[in-house]
């Protein structure tokens, strides 16, 4: 009898504690979306199948595969995997290929008829121009999403390697080159 009473008492006390904790420390919202969004490259290209980077971040937070972002490529996949504590898969090439070279849009201006279609397509307002006037791409603002290429009726937009410092030659880790070429004099 005493045992049962003790058990009852304990359950009551802990029940109260649990009830209080449940109300007091309830967590609302999902901060992980912001963290994922911060890791995505923000090209807003839609290659992942979502209209923009944030929607994809939200999708990842609710369980979508993390390997659908070609502009971010493997480094982005790795850092998201790191954040979420999962294994990093390789890029799903159904969504596009990773490129070593950062491309930006370039408008062949003599062919531009000033239709403003590319301006409407650009997710980051990187194209300057007005109706019936020539358009041009502000290189430093272009994310290289190539969304402006399809709408162009005269095919005057092409993707060229960026020249604003995004593609400068960088030092590479030695295992990416043949170390045996190094040629060292032992003295």
């Amino acid at each position: 009898m005493v045992e049962l009473l003790a058990l009852l008492l304990l359950t009551t006390i802990f029940g109260v504690v649990l009830g209080y904790a449940n109300v007091k420390y309830r967590v609302e919202g999902d901060p992980v979306v912001d963290q994922i969004d911060a890791l995505l490259p923000q090209t807003q290209c839609g290659q992942c199948g979502h209209p923009g980077c944030r929607p994809y971040a939200e999708a990842i937070a609710s369980g979508e595969a993390i390997n659908k972002c070609p502009p971010g490529g493997q480094p982005t996949i790795n850092s998201i995997a790191d954040l979420l504590g999962v294994d990093a898969p390789s890029l799903d090439e159904e969504h596009g290929e990773e490129s070593d070279i950062q491309l930006v849009a370039f408008i062949d201006e003599p062919n531009c008829i000033g239709c403003t279609k590319c301006i409407q397509a650009c997710p980051v307002d990187a194209i300057l121009g007005a109706a019936k006037l020539m358009h041009t791409v502000i290189e430093s603002e272009c994310t290289g999403c190539d969304l402006c290429v399809d709408p162009c009726p005269t095919d005057c937009i092409e993707m060229i390697p960026a020249t604003d410092g995004r593609n400068v030659a960088r030092w590479k880790q030695p295992d990416l080159i043949a170390t045996s070429e190094r040629g060292i004099v032992h003295d």
Binding site: L40, V124, T143, R170, P174, T179
Partner: protein
């Protein structure tokens, strides 16, 4: 002689200096064509101010700086501008910069210069002459000397860097021995222009002749100097290390030597300053040590800036197999394109025989690198984190304090190319940082665009609404007009229209809601009153309640009427 402090780390490789410092500097025959990079260094742009076909003389200015850190360049020879095109530089074969080709016409004409004695020049004039002579630091980094001086307003102490600690290189050694007068001139210029109180020469104990020559020259020029002879150890000639050796002070993280009141200039830079200020001659040539195991006639040579390395092929013993290195063996750059030109930072050309290759072995954490690091970093930990690209750890281990001197790499028994790992990691971190900034920027642009589109959409909807209401108001006003046929005052119609408009401009939805509530309330009241009526006993009471009921019914009818009118108005919108 001042007391010399110690620095941690450092290495003692074979110096190989006697190969090239045996005889005084010579001149090489001027090549037929020179290539002058428009942007000295790589980052900071200038623009050409000559055109193809122009004829130029020696010292003719060829480029005008566009960036504050850029310096002007001048023609080393007389001739014609043959081409202006993109070409490779030594430091980064993948990157090309704009270069100006000058064809030598052999006339050896110079522009008229305006030499002046130092006594006649004011401090401002001295600085002006320095700034237009295109002088870069000649120790190897190539930083604009004009900017370095401009950033050193509070400086009282000039340290003359004559340490030249890298193996093989003897250009500064020979310069101090043979051109100490020019160096003293440079020291005097700087001392006068910046009102310095203290001048110290730092040199290594393996250059006794140079040291003696400098002491004699200082005595002859009557300059009061301090003398610091540091033990031979690499990298004592690095700016931060030499300051620590001579003053015992450290340049705090993120600060400049100027914050300690110190300005350090290389002897080569000072010689260039001396000539630029007193003889009014911009930098058009420099002393280059050409040496190495595969070098014919190793020695020091005055080489016009812009001389393609190809023009020096005769120095290589076995041209096909030799490997060229620009700079010293510790911090130099492998020459992969021999059409690249000599620049102001080219203190040495090292010609080495092709050597047996080695490959990287696992790090055994022997800590030889840690013992060798002059910056007291932990190279083996940096390697570990660089391989796993751990940004946070790399920063915490102060990767960006690495001066890439190569001491760790030199001592590594496992032949690990440590410096390359660090360079790659630094580039990676910088790129990651700029990517972050760029993506943050793109995110803002995207979000602002979305917000703007939203706003425009809202505004469109609002305008459409307003137009609709205005049309209805007009309609209503017309109706009023046709109703009041007896009065033909247009004013009344206008007034009615205005009133109707005012009515509609009130939020109708809200009043409709209120009215509905009112109706239901009244109806409840009515039911209650009817109950009272049935219960009531005498007539007097009945009559009172009857009256109240009537009142309530009227109120209900009024409210219902109002409600109906509002409903009518809202129907077309729904």
């Amino acid at each position: 002689m001042i007391k010399v402090h110690t620095i941690p780390g450092g290495i003692h490789p074979e110096t190989h200096k006697s190969m090239s410092n045996g005889s005084a500097a010579e001149r090489i025959p001027t090549p037929d064509r020179l290539w002058i990079p428009v942007s000295a260094g790589l980052k900071y742009e200038s623009e050409p101010i000559v055109n193809v076909g122009d004829s130029v003389k020696r010292f003719t200015q060829l480029t005008q700086p566009k960036h504050a850190f850029a310096v002007a360049s001048h023609s080393p020879i007389s001739g014609t501008v043959a081409a202006i095109e993109m070409r490779s530089v030594v430091a980064m074969p993948e990157r090309q910069v704009l270069m100006i080709a000058i064809d030598n016409d052999g006339n050896n004409e110079s522009e008229r210069r305006a030499p002046m004695a130092l006594d006649e020049l004011s401090g401002a004039q001295i600085l002006d002459r320095i700034s237009r002579s295109g002088i870069q630091g000649q120790g190897g980094a190539g930083f604009s000397t004009q900017i370095k001086i401009a950033a050193s307003k509070q400086v009282t102490h000039l340290i003359v860097n004559g340490v030249e600690c890298e193996p093989y290189i003897t250009a500064d050694d020979r310069l101090m021995r043979d051109y100490s007068d020019d160096i003293m001139l440079g020291i005097q210029c700087i001392a006068k222009a910046m009102q310095l109180t203290q001048i110290t020469l730092g040199t290594e104990d393996n250059k006794p002749q140079a040291f003696e020559a400098m002491q004699n020259a200082a005595a002859a020029a009557n300059i009061n100097m301090q003398w610091g002879v540091v033990p031979t150890k690499y990298p004592s000639g690095s700016e931060k290390q030499l300051i620590q050796l001579l003053t015992g002070q450290e340049v705090a993280n993120g600060k400049l030597p100027a914050d300690l009141g110190i300005l350090m200039l290389n002897v080569g830079t000072l010689a260039a300053i001396g000539r630029a200020v007193v003889h009014d001659e911009p930098v058009t040539e420099r002393l280059v040590t050409i040496t190495g195991e595969a070098c014919e006639r190793p020695g020091n040579y005055w080489v016009p800036l812009g001389t393609p390395i190809d023009a020096l092929q005769t120095f290589a013993k076995d041209g096909a197999k030799a490997q060229w290195i620009q700079g010293g063996p510790m911090m130099g750059v492998r020459v992969t394109d021999t059409t690249a030109p000599i620049t102001q930072v080219t203190n040495c050309l090292l010609i080495q025989p092709a050597v047996k290759s080695t490959s990287e072995m696992p790090c055994i954490r022997c800590s030889a690198c840690y013992e060798a690091c002059p910056m007291q970093l932990l190279p083996q930990q940096l390697l570990w984190h660089a391989k796993s690209n751990n940004e946070q750890k790399l920063k915490a281990h102060n990767l960006f304090d690495c001066i890439e001197c190569g001491a760790c790499d030199y001592v590594c028994p496992s032949d690990i190319p440590l410096v390359q790992y660090y360079r790659a990691a630094k580039d990676e971190l910088r790129a990651a940082e700029s990517d972050r900034v760029r993506s943050e920027h793109a995110r803002n642009r995207f979000e602002q665009r979305q917000a703007r589109l939203e706003r425009i959409e809202q505004e469109k909807i609002a305008k459409r609404e307003a137009r609709k209401k205005a049309a209805e108001a007009k309609k209503a006003a017309k109706q009023v007009d046709s109703d009041t046929t007896t009065s033909d005052k247009p004013k009344a119609g206008l007034l009615a229209a205005a009133m109707a408009k005012a009515e509609t401009s009130k939020a109708p939805a809200l009043s409709a809601e209120k009215l509905t509530k009112q109706v239901s309330n009244l109806e409840a009241q009515l039911i209650h009153q009817q109950q009272l009526l049935e219960e009531a006993g005498d007539d007097e009471k009945r009559a009172k309640i009857d009256a109240r009921i009537k009142n309530t019914r009227i109120k209900i009818d009024q409210a219902k009427a109002k409600l109906a009118s509002i409903d009518d108005q809202e129907q077309p919108n729904a």
